[in-house]
Symmetry: C2
Subunit: 251 residues, 2 copies
Amino acid sequence: MSDYVYNLLKKHHSVRSFKKDPVSEESVKQLIEAGQSASTSSYLQAYSIIGIDDPEVKEDLKEVSGQPYVVENGYLLVFVMDYYRHAIVNENSKNDMSTSFESAEGLLVGTIDAALVAQNIATTAEDMGYGMVYLGSLRNDVERVREILELPEHTFPLFGMALGIPADNENGSPKPRLPIEHVFHQNKYNSDKEVQRRALSAYDQTVSKYYASRTNGERSETWSEQISNFMSAKQRLDMLEQLNKSGFIQK
Amino acid sequence: MSDYVYNLLKKHHSVRSFKKDPVSEESVKQLIEAGQSASTSSYLQAYSIIGIDDPEVKEDLKEVSGQPYVVENGYLLVFVMDYYRHAIVNENSKNDMSTSFESAEGLLVGTIDAALVAQNIATTAEDMGYGMVYLGSLRNDVERVREILELPEHTFPLFGMALGIPADNENGSPKPRLPIEHVFHQNKYNSDKEVQRRALSAYDQTVSKYYASRTNGERSETWSEQISNFMSAKQRLDMLEQLNKSGFIQK
């Protein structure tokens, strides 16, 4: 009974500072193959991956994201929900498949498919010695990302991933997660608010102490404070419009 | 440069036939911890996991899914998009966070968060010697799943996972994936339909041969035929309604 992967995953932390060394072509190929090996809903494989090493494309995407590590990395990936190839099959079919990818079900399937692929790639990359960070910030301007990557209809850019050898001064560490009893329920959901509040309160102290120790006391906000500030900022309220425009959630 | 995870993932195939042996409590705990270690969008951790060993709960979920392995497994997990705890934080906050989880952006964040956690669990389980299969079929009747698991508002059951020691007669093998040049694009998306059609045509033959060899020639459909039939069946067209009812995609 191996605990190799368990130990690898427990060490995970996002890396945002990379050496300039490019990820080799051979490694990229292995990463994509590992990604493709993930389970896929009903064999649909409703995703594509754009691999980016062109500095101009990286610069353009950095303008969308605002994060320097969109340019400064060993390799950049963008994960796309993709029913373009299914639409091509549909062109020559007497069956009407459009409902399948224009429905909210199609959105869930494509999003989950792409995320499973991405997480396989993340785990494989970390095992190879690379660091990685996800880039939800590409959703700041979906229309611009579609232009930059020339994405056709029936596709949608979900998120990116920057990869590379961690910089020498990179000193990230795993961030404390919610207590296990908070996210893990046995046989049915425990929605008792008092139980949840108690667990959150203990966790808030853990997170506050974590930040304080990492910043010599400069930051000390709790998890509740952090998510309250973040979630009230009303970000990316155009997402439904962007999904609609790209052909998703039509019915 | 380790290729341990690469080799593990390349061997992945879904297992649908398990021994009766339960997954030990210690293993379940390790799996949940490995899941929680996944990256999470803006630290939101917008998911919960329901672990199920109660035979009655399994029976109820099997009625929704229609798959025998929802009952016959070593352990069952259900992955839930979860903003219930964020809503609790919101109750005592002067900030209004509701837009964040009622928007399409909130749906993407929660779905991706849950899928990353699930794929960490899948990989860790396979490394431990277990087999697994995802259960999108729980979305056949979201309302019933909500009842069975007593899910509160601001949560949504996305998919399940059956786990266990593969049965002695289990003989699955990795199913051929789309050719790498079909899902992997360099620097921008290649939407040339002729290129895509050629790749699909070659892949169709690969899939047809795979099925024929696995079934002594009884099955031999191509990928295009399979997805065309599946995707025209108009399944789960209530998903947007179900998401709306659970508080998602309100704006």
